[in-house]
């Protein structure tokens, strides 16, 4: 699905989303009103410029459109890996982006993330996984890294990793794993506008992903361990 097709499906009543480099920003018209759109396209590698631009868009929405829901469109191959990005403190720029999303949430903006293509590693973290709810399109690819790269780093033979990852949502890259872990709340199918409306209609709550991961059998320990450390009933 191309970006214009995707936007038409999400916002049949109209949208105005511009693209500068890999960064998307604009608005779409949903049944309950305007929705702010921010995001990345074409599996962008997120470097300092993109991180800053995304944060700037989120801040602008908070400043200029109080309460307007935010849809984060996530398509990123991960952080840009370069000496320059590290020299300038890319982790700090991404931390700033995450803090801006937290600000939006606290200021009363619903924040929904939709993985449209790839969601890899730190790119997924700072834009997608900080949202109230994270959803994905069918065919989306979510991962930390590929199994061959993982085999190189962990020194575990690739064949063994492949065998072990079968049926293991903790290890196997891919959308289905992240659904079972509770990180992806649901997979959106056409009509996307209806899925978006339903997400916008739900109230924001505490981070429910550990509970969801336990229900779906993908993360059998996270909720219970957090509870035992926290002494409460949930990790929220």
């Amino acid at each position: 699905m191309t970006l214009p097709e995707l936007l038409d499906d999400l916002f049949p009543a109209g949208h105005a989303v511009r693209r500068e480099g890999d960064v998307l920003a604009g608005t779409g018209r949903a049944a309950r009103g305007e929705v702010a759109v921010v995001g990345t396209a074409d599996g962008a590698e997120i470097g300092v410029e993109a991180a800053l631009a995304l944060a700037g868009e989120v801040l602008r929405v908070v400043r200029e459109a109080p309460g307007r829901p935010v849809l984060a469109l996530v398509d990123t191959a991960g952080q840009r890996m370069s000496r320059r990005d590290e020299l300038l403190g890319l982790n700090g720029y991404l931390g700033h982006l995450a803090a801006c999303v937290e600000l939006a949430r606290r200021a009363g903006h619903r924040v929904i993330a939709l993985v449209t293509g790839q969601a890899v590693s730190a790119g997924a973290l700072a834009l997608g996984f900080v949202a109230d709810e994270v959803h994905a399109l069918e065919g989306a690819r979510v991962a930390v890294m590929s199994l061959p790269a993982m085999a190189r780093v962990t020194k575990i033979p690739l064949e063994r990793l492949e065998a072990l990852s079968r049926g293991s949502p903790v290890l196997a890259p891919g959308l289905e794993s992240y659904v079972r872990l509770g990180a992806i709340a649901s997979v959106w199918r056409a009509p996307l506008a209806a899925a978006l409306e339903a997400a916008l209609a739900r109230p924001a709550g505490p981070d429910a992903r550990a509970a969801l991961g336990a229900e779906r059998g993908g993360r059998t320990l996270a909720r219970e361990v957090a509870r035992r450390v926290g002494g409460g009933t949930d990790a929220g």
Binding site: E86, N91, S168, A210, V229
Partner: protein, 303 residues
């Protein structure tokens, strides 16, 4: 100035274990561990891979006192799988941050020593890091200061490098390194021309505490010493970095200005020179006090 007399021998923070660091940073005898090794909360995923497990899954969490103030604290064990965050490890951190919202300690200390996500359980680790990130931001937004200490052998990388910069404040040593993609990862994926991970000088100039301090990415630079980290933790435990529009707008301008000023810099030395450091080559050899004296007039406003 140091008082006269023989120098007090330093106790290395970097060489200490995760629990030893907690004992050295917190008030003596105050640490009460939660879900400690006796409870055997181990990783089933490592066991499935036939790999050794740790009874604490590589992180100690609990409550303690810091200068008489009640705090919650976590300390990652770099000696176990490079401090990598797996399902249980991450849930202990996330649970501690959730506890902070209920118990309202005067601060939360995160003694970070980690390469990031534990690849042996990568997906669960990535999700856990994002839960820790949200937990840190929630505590910070609720006015509970979260302070990161970075001085371990693995530094602080990957998603946890982002977590450190979501905190209210960061204290680090020159030896502790902070970033997102570590030198080995960059060399492996982009080639040795991009970053020679064996060039220790280059690695420290890029990720080390002095550069992070000058850049505004760390609030305190301390020597590799348990007492120095303790003093920094006490000083930063009252730090507030509100999650509000005014604060984040100001930080946004600072980050934009950094990019405009140094985006074309070839290396750290060029940035330091631009910041007004007279002799960048000399910085590497200075201890923390000498360094801070030397750059006192040059450091830009970080936040």
């Amino acid at each position: 100035m140091s008082p006269p007399g023989p120098p007090v021998p330093r106790r290395s923070y970097r060489e200490a274990s995760a629990r030893r660091r907690l004992l050295g940073v917190l008030d003596p005898g105050s640490f009460e561990e939660r879900l400690g090794p006796a409870e055997r909360a181990t990783s089933p995923h490592l066991a499935a891979l036939g790999q050794p497990v740790a009874f604490d899954d590589g992180v100690a969490v609990g409550a303690g006192a810091l200068g008489g103030r009640r705090v919650l604290a976590a300390s990652q064990e770099g000696a176990f799988l490079g401090g990598g965050v797996g399902e249980v490890h991450g849930a202990k951190l996330a649970g501690l941050l959730a506890a902070a919202l209920r118990e309202r300690p005067e601060a939360v200390l995160l003694l970070l020593d980690t390469g990031g996500v534990r690849l042996q359980e990568a997906n669960a680790g990535l999700v856990a890091v994002s839960e820790v990130m949200r937990g840190v931001l929630a505590a910070r937004a609720e006015g509970i200061p979260v302070v990161a200490l970075v001085g371990g052998g693995w530094g602080c990388f990957g998603g946890m490098g982002i977590v450190a910069r979501c905190c209210d404040a960061v204290a680090m040593s020159e030896e502790g390194r902070l970033g997102l993609s570590g030198p080995d990862v960059i060399e492996e994926t982009k080639g040795v021309e991009e970053l020679d991970a064996s060039d220790r000088g280059l690695v420290w100039r890029t990720y080390g505490g002095k550069h992070r301090y000058l850049l505004g990415e760390a609030d305190r630079l301390v020597d590799d010493d348990l007492d120095a980290f303790r003093a920094a933790a006490i000083a930063l435990a009252g730090a507030r970095r509100p999650v509000d529009l005014a604060t984040l707008s100001r930080e946004h301008h600072v980050l934009a200005a950094r990019l405009a000023a140094h985006g074309a810099a070839a290396d750290a030395a060029a940035i330091w020179t631009a910041l007004g450091v007279a002799d960048p080559d000399a910085l590497a050899l200075l201890d923390a006090d000498e360094f801070l004296r030397d750059v006192a007039g040059t450091r830009r406003e970080a936040r």
